[in-house]
Amino acid sequence: MRKGRNRMTSTPLLQTRRLTKSFRGRKIIDHLNLTVMKGDVYGFLGRNGQGKTTAIRLITGLIFPDSGEVIINGFHLRTNFKQAISQVGAIVESPAFYDYLTGYENLSLMANLLPGVEKSRIGEVLEIVGLRSRAKDKVRTYSLGMKQRLGIANALLGDPPLIILDEPTNGLDPQGIKEIREMIAQLSSEKGITFFISSHLLHEIQQICNRIGILKEGKLLVEGDVEEWVGRCGERSLEQLYFETTGE
């Protein structure tokens, strides 16, 4: 599986500048500067509790930074929220839906909030994620893997240039993990979508990402191309490099 093959230009699609966030006096995100280029499949690595989800919440405007800024496709999140968030489709933490509604109804409600999105797009995204046959079933009957796929369908609805997935393979069985991984690779290569994927699963990230950033205690320790990095370091796996970098 080739990775990040659609890295089209060196234009940044997502940037954070000195992003900082504290909770109860403890710094969770510490001057985070990361850059995701158009066409990247960017792996945001770190152990549980290092601040990955908090960073994603800051990037998507669900929580507010103490200082610093988020720029998405040239739009500042703080001052131009609507334009900035229009560039993003995201699953933050876990895919939550109204379980008393069907998959189709859930997507229909969300499509309502995206200007210019036709109802026919719902069928298209359900087709892409392989849920068309279950579209009329209530979400409460879906497995976790199906909810993840519905979450990706929801993220794809507005055809955004950037999709953010927070631990997209968490809780999935090996088959589910494989399906999600293949879907990301396919969307990246065929549709040119840029992905920002957080994970603590190094092997997963090495398989699908062309660029990575490693987060430890809210600080970005390193950011760079996976192939270049691994190439420089010979045959060592990303896992070894990760442990050397983080000192864990």
């Binding site: 998507t60 669900l62 929580i63 334009q83 229009s86 939550a96 109204y98 409600l109 909030l113």
Partner: protein, 256 residues
């Protein structure tokens, strides 16, 4: 507008609305099935079904005190807790627009409950007592058309304090992280308020008093000064709670 469409879609697709309607129907049935005007078991004296909705109007208020926190707790706190609030917040909509849509759907919810209660009270009252010669209210007999007008007016007027109470609950829901906390805190606030109704000096300034009695300054005859004062007091409560809710929701950190 699209946000409001979404909120209304959810309102009519959840079971809650229909459960509340069923509860109202059962309560109306229980109150009217064995009813004998002026008997020892009741304080009511009305003799015709057309008087039932006005006579029972405070029963509706008592249930709205419970239904409104459950509705808002589910619509805001539960959505926050379950993560579905993020679905809307990750779209290009302002937080204030989302809260406005939730407030508008609360208004629709209140109206649906009021309409259903009156329809049920008219239907069940007429079934057990017959339609009657006129609407009996506050010791007077009004012609049917007048009586229906009074009933509609009383109910329409009570929507105002119900909404003010709803905004109080909304403010509590914005600060709360669990539905049970929202419901219990709202009921506690209202219970405290209802317990002050016995104190004449305090009662007119209590929102709980107006949730029960707001219409009495307007019907059957307008009592101008108390009516204006009550409107002002309820309006201040509504404005203060709305301001608090919108300010707090704009800054709320979505961590679920």
């Amino acid at each position: 507008m699209k946000l409001m469409e979404n909120e209304l879609y959810k309102l009519f697709r959840t079971k809650k609305l229909y459960v509340f309607a069923a509860v109202i129907l059962v309560v109306v049935l229980l109150n009217l099935s064995g009813y004998e005007p002026g008997s020892e078991t009741t304080i009511w004296t009305f003799t015709g079904g057309q008087s039932a909705p006005l006579a029972m109007i405070q029963i509706l208020s008592q249930f709205m005190v419970i239904f409104i926190p459950i509705y808002i707790g589910d619509s805001l706190t539960n959505e926050y807790r379950q993560g579905t609030l993020k679905l809307s917040l990750l779209r290009p909509v302002a937080r204030s627009q989302l809260l406005k849509a939730k407030t508008a759907s609360l208004f629709v919810f209140v109206c649906v409950m009021v309409i259903f209660f009156n329809a049920a009270a008219y239907a069940v009252g007429t079934y057990y007592l017959g339609w009657g010669n006129g609407t009996e209210y506050a010791g007077q007999l009004y012609r049917p058309a007048e009586g229906i007008g009074l009933t509609l007016a009383a109910n329409a007027l009570l929507i105002f304090p119900y909404m003010a109470y709803g905004l109080l609950v909304l403010a509590i829901a914005v600060f709360s992280s669990s539905m049970s906390l929202t419901v219990i805190s709202s009921l506690l606030a209202m219970t405290i308020g209802l317990n002050t109704n016995g104190f004449e000096a305090v009662a007119p300034y209590s929102l709980a008093y107006h949730v029960m009695n707001f219409h009495e300054h307007f019907i059957p005859a307008l009592d101008l000064l108390p009516a204006l004062r009550s409107t002002g007091i309820v309006g201040i409560y509504a404005a203060a709670f709305a301001l608090l809710s919108f300010k707090a929701f704009g800054k709320k950190e979505i961590v679920y």
